[in-house]
């Protein structure tokens, strides 16, 4: 039944469904989730599609259990994923931390809505940008991609799986309600044109294998349950063997490793879309559904001869600090439209370091910016 996992061809589907199809094409065969608006359609698609390819869909009792179950499945050697939105993402934070600490590959799709608390279940938000980065206690590196269309929901979910296997950690697909519920053409390429990263397996004998070793900034290959390596996997601070060691020295190595494998590889992970940046005096920085409106605003202004550019963040984390730092020396202002009270704007301002103005255009959720609004604010800095 494997031929049904990649539905090569043209489809007219929404972003939630495209996330599910991306997961299947990337080799996901286990999904554990809990219904939540506006991410339920990801689970519904998986409930129908996974059995067709011999995979397992299970609806858990809550998001805590969903996250725990996908970690367990991943250690069983199967690519796994879950989907949720703000409140469920909050509940997952505990076991996201376990996934970071135990270096467990898996993908969490978050179709963001307005928060805090129950907030706006059915309406758009980009409220979890910082929760994704800092939501679980302690330090760890974060990888999050942000699709701006159903096509990207498909493409970036595959990328998220590849990054999670490569860096051995949970990776987030931070979509938003508008993109998740937007129906557009999605082209699923032939299987041979889709790059799918396979999990590296240890090649050494058991006594030489260090499952949590750091080679350069890269994680060790992963021995799964039943491989005979008898790995101990713990959320406690552990040494390279995985044995718990409660000392400052081992903590130092352990935490630095899970932070630095992302930080030192940021240049390989970061993806941005650069639109008319060369001579720009003002650059709009946007992501998700907001970047579509921003693109319209920038293109209109360019046609009228204004020196405006767009930096679209395809990966939100790690943040493209080098690009923003370089632009900070060139532009007068960064305009950051986002559907929250200034989460990414904070990162832009921090990176700009006072060399260019950072202007937040915040919406608290429930609606999107209009191109005119963006043009008006951009116009004030030209």
């Amino acid at each position: 039944m494997a031929e049904k996992d990649v539905l090569t061809g043209e489809h007219f589907i929404h972003g939630d469904a495209a996330c599910a199809e991306g997961g299947l094409a990337a080799g996901c065969r286990f999904f554990a989730g809990y219904p939540i608006t506006p991410a339920t359609e990801v689970a519904e698609r998986m409930a129908r599609r996974l059995p067709e390819v011999g995979g397992i869909y299970i609806q858990m009792e809550d998001e805590i259990a969903s996250m725990a179950a996908i970690l367990g499945a991943s250690w069983g050697g199967v690519k796994s994923m879950t989907s949720t939105s703000g409140p469920g993402f909050s509940l997952m934070m505990e076991n996201i931390g376990l996934g970071m600490m135990t270096e467990t590959p898996c993908v969490v799709v978050n179709i963001q809505r307005g928060g805090p608390s129950t907030g706006l279940p059915t309406l758009v938000g980009q409220a979890d940008v910082m929760q994704a980065r800092w939501g679980s206690h302690g330090d760890y590196g974060c990888i999050a991609v942000s699709p701006a269309s159903p096509q990207e929901c498909f493409d970036l979910t595959i990328l998220a799986f590849n990054l999670s296997e490569m860096y051995r950690q949970p990776v987030f697909v931070l979509a938003d309600e508008v993109v998740g519920h937007m129906t557009e053409k999605v082209i699923i390429p032939p299987r041979e044109q889709i790059h799918v990263a396979q999990r590296a397996k240890p090649a050494v004998e058991r006594s030489k294998y260090l499952p949590f070793e750091s080679t350069g900034p890269m994680p060790a290959p992963m021995a799964i349950a039943g491989d005979g390596y008898h790995v101990h996997v713990t959320g406690l601070t552990h040494d390279e063997r995985g044995y718990p060691v409660i000392t400052d020295a081992v903590q130092e190595r352990n935490v630095r490793h899970i932070v630095e494998k992302v930080r030192m590889n940021a240049h390989n992970i970061i993806r941005v879309d650069e639109v008319a940046l060369e001579d720009a005096d003002v650059v709009v920085i946007a992501y998700g559904c907001t970047s579509r409106v921003a693109r319209q605003a920038v293109e209109d202004m360019r046609r009228k001869g204004h020196r405006v550019g767009l930096l679209r963040l395809v990966t939100l984390w790690p943040f493209p600090s080098n690009i923003v730092r370089r632009l900070a020396g060139q532009v007068k202002a960064f305009v950051v439209p986002e559907i929250n009270y200034g989460q990414m704007a904070l990162e832009v301002e921090r990176t700009a370091g006072g060399r260019a103005e950072t202007v937040l255009m915040g919406l608290m959720g429930g609606s999107i910016h209009s191109p005119q609004e963006i043009q008006e604010v951009v116009g004030q800095y030209l």
């Binding site: 059995p51 299970i58 725990a68 970690l71 367990g72 069983g76 996997v233 713990t234 190595r253």
Partner: protein, 303 residues
């Protein structure tokens, strides 16, 4: 920003190997224990060693290769069981051993997945996961070590602490009744339910071997002394005396109704194998119902 950190101390494989060579081979069950992990952290007189040994004895008796055994634990003194066994072991978050094990067991039906955890982990913070795991009949063997308190954090009251019992957070006596664990497991759908104390290692080994043959969610409660957290404030004496107490208070009645198995302070402890029934597990139903339909294997119709 500029970053200043201390130098990282590299892992010293040689001294780790040396420690293993020196320390390994001293314990009769060493081949089942992870090299270099003993001495364990448990207190003298703790019942956890007995439970660990009975589990090892059960796999030995069944001849199950350790490569086919997986142990998943939560947090707490019992949660540390995973770390000592020489097999694939997963020490997860507090209360979440069952959902983690659910994911693992569903994708790897070839492995024997055992969840080892304490009463607080499985029935307070993890209570919801336990009842749903049992309801779904996931193919898991759950061994719950019940010592009537949170030992790791220094002896606080938990979901099994009987009314009137003293703990560090119930200094005047506990106002809440404890759960009757076998009754709850049975009502939630477990296909095998037993209770033993650490005074019954032979019966316990037998029960664990029985669960290896069962498909579905099995539950064994093991009453274990915790002289540090529970024995002392309740004047049960040393670990040995607490064990003697469990010997005197326990009454073995196989097949007894689990609803009658409630434990009161200084009351009788009903022991035995209470429930042993058959019911299709999650995967069997999923494969026969869901996958068969989705792949058009039932009646040759595509879904």
């Amino acid at each position: 920003m500029k970053r200043h950190f201390r130098d990282i101390v590299p892992f010293d494989q040689d001294s780790a190997d040396r420690a293993i060579e020196e320390g390994h081979g001293l314990h009769p069950l060493d081949e089942y224990l992870k090299p270099g992990r003993i001495p364990h952290i448990w207190c003298p007189g703790c019942g956890l060693g007995v439970v660990l040994t009975t589990y090892i004895e059960a796999i030995r008796r069944k001849g199950i290769p350790v490569d086919k055994c997986v142990v998943v634990s939560g947090i707490g003194c019992t949660g540390r069981v995973a770390g000592y066994l020489d097999m694939d072991t997963y020490h997860t978050t507090h209360g979440r051993a069952i959902p983690f094990a659910t994911g693992l067991a569903l994708v790897r039906p070839d492995l024997h997945v055992t969840v080892f955890s304490g009463d607080g982990d499985l029935f307070a913070i993890g209570g919801n996961h336990l009842i749903h795991g049992a309801r779904r009949n996931i193919n898991l063997n759950v061994i719950c070590v019940n010592n009537f308190n949170y030992g790791m954090t220094g002896g606080q009251a938990g979901p099994t602490t009987p009314v009137d019992a003293r703990t560090s957070t119930t200094p005047m006596g506990n106002a809440e009744p404890g759960f009757n664990l076998p009754h709850l497991a049975h009502a939630s759908g477990a296909v095998y339910v037993a209770r033993w104390t650490t005074f019954h290692p032979r019966q316990l080994v037998h029960s664990i071997t029985e669960t290896f043959d069962k498909k579905g969610f099995t539950f064994i409660e093991v009453i274990a002394p915790c002289p540090t957290g529970y024995g002392r404030p309740n004047k049960l004496g040393s670990g040995l005396e607490e064990m003697r107490y469990y010997k005197e208070m326990s009454e073995v009645r196989n097949g007894a109704d689990p609803s009658k198995a409630e434990i009161r302070l200084k009351g009788k402890i009903l022991c035995g194998t209470f429930i042993n029934v058959e019911r299709p597990d999650f995967l069997e139903t999923y494969n026969n119902l869901v996958i068969a339909k989705a792949q058009g294997r039932d009646k040759g119709k595509a879904a």
